[in-house]
Symmetry: C2
Subunit: 208 residues, 2 copies
DNA sequence: GTTAGCATGTAAGGAGTTACATGATTTT
DNA sequence: AAAATCATGTAACTCCTTACATGCTAAC
């Protein structure tokens, strides 16, 4: 039952899936990944890590410390607490992805969910994209209607603002249409005979 | 020095400029005007009205009550506390508009400021639009650079997300360009008479 | 006469930021 | 040795929402 605050949790769990990391770097990746939409501060991240520890979804991996750091300082600077997923953490992540209800296509969560689509099964991807599309369409219609209702008593600037907002929404709907299309096409030509449910792997691209 | 929370204040003061209103209706107009971006709840609005009262920027106008309601219920339903601007409120609104520093083109305030452009002088309009443009351009470049830095280890979905975000920002920049253009054209053909400062190009200094 | 919508208000809390406090390591 | 950067963490605060409490008026 994804609450609102699960955004960070999902993102952290997702990033740790790739490789163990300490908070500071986690934050950098987080903000590189979602930077255009949102940015989290340490005041948000560290308490979240603490909570994930308590829940048993991540643990400190003292032996692991930054193995693959390329050039500088293999020496292991002091503080660095490297976290890694536990088995329960992996389960938790999977269930957050799969069990995403309607919250997954709301503004606060859609981008994060989308960012982890590579680890999401095709069915869920489609469900989220379609949910989002419907949501955007609704919003667009509501806005359009409201704009029509109040088109008197509006000056050129509020009209322009309205117009621009509607255009943005239309653009987003078209974007989602393309994505949905592309998802369906991929689903129709799988790389072999597998009909339906191939939830776990089949979509992994090469990384990490 | 416009704080963050001045958004609602500005909006309420601006709406009351048109005509006295009670809270319930104020909220409807507010959300019709800004609906696409944000929506305020009563839990936000009423405390704000209380504060504006205390500051002396609005006052209850008991005689005024909904004079021009078109069809239903001129009878004056119970609660309805109609507010109107005081002289200080008008001043306050004017100074919020004119004195808008860099905060005016940040995400939280830009749309509200834009919505009241009809009541804003040409110089300030241009300043805000240009500030916003610069801000968006910066953000776009930062995102583009970050995208380039991390283009390895990115799957098709995060790439797509990135691409879409960049496109949205480019679109916004173009939109602002058009608006700035149109503002300049309007400034170059004033409807005669009015002397005062020529806001054509040299307006780039005044940041508070 | 009860339901639906209008209208005002408050208390609790969620989600995040800023500013602070602390200290190690690297670079200059 | 100073400055910059890396790194962790907390406390206070902001801003807003949700849920509740209250009661009028209109309509069925």
């Amino acid at each position: 039952m994804a609450r609102r605050g699960d955004v960070l949790e999902l993102a952290v769990l997702g990033l740790l899936q790739d490789s163990p990391m300490h908070g500071y770097e986690l934050r950098k990746r987080l903000n590189a990944m979602l930077g255009s939409f949102r940015a989290f501060s340490y005041g948000t991240l560290y308490p979240c890590l603490k909570m994930l520890l308590e829940k048993g979804w991540i643990r400190e991996s003292d032996g692991e410390r930054a193995k693959e750091r390329p050039a500088h300082a293999l020496s292991g600077r002091r503080g660095r607490i490297v976290y890694q997923l536990t088995a329960e953490g992996k389960e938790r992540f999977a269930s957050l992805l799969a069990g995403s209800g309607s919250a997954a296509w709301e503004d606060e969560q859609f981008d994060v969910h989308f960012a982890f689509f590579s680890r999401t099964d095709a069915q869920t991807r489609l469900k989220i994209l379609e949910g989002r599309r419907t949501r955007m369409q609704e919003r667009l219609e509501k806005a359009h209607e409201a704009a029509h209702r109040t088109r008197e008593r509006r000056d050129r600037y509020t009209l322009e603002l309205q117009r621009h907002a509607e255009e943005s929404m239309e653009r987003e709907v078209r974007w989602l249409d393309d994505l949905i299309d592309s998802e369906r096409r991929r689903a129709d030509e799988p790389r072999s005979g597998s009909r339906r449910t191939r939830p776990s792997e089949s979509t992994r691209e090469g990384d990490s």
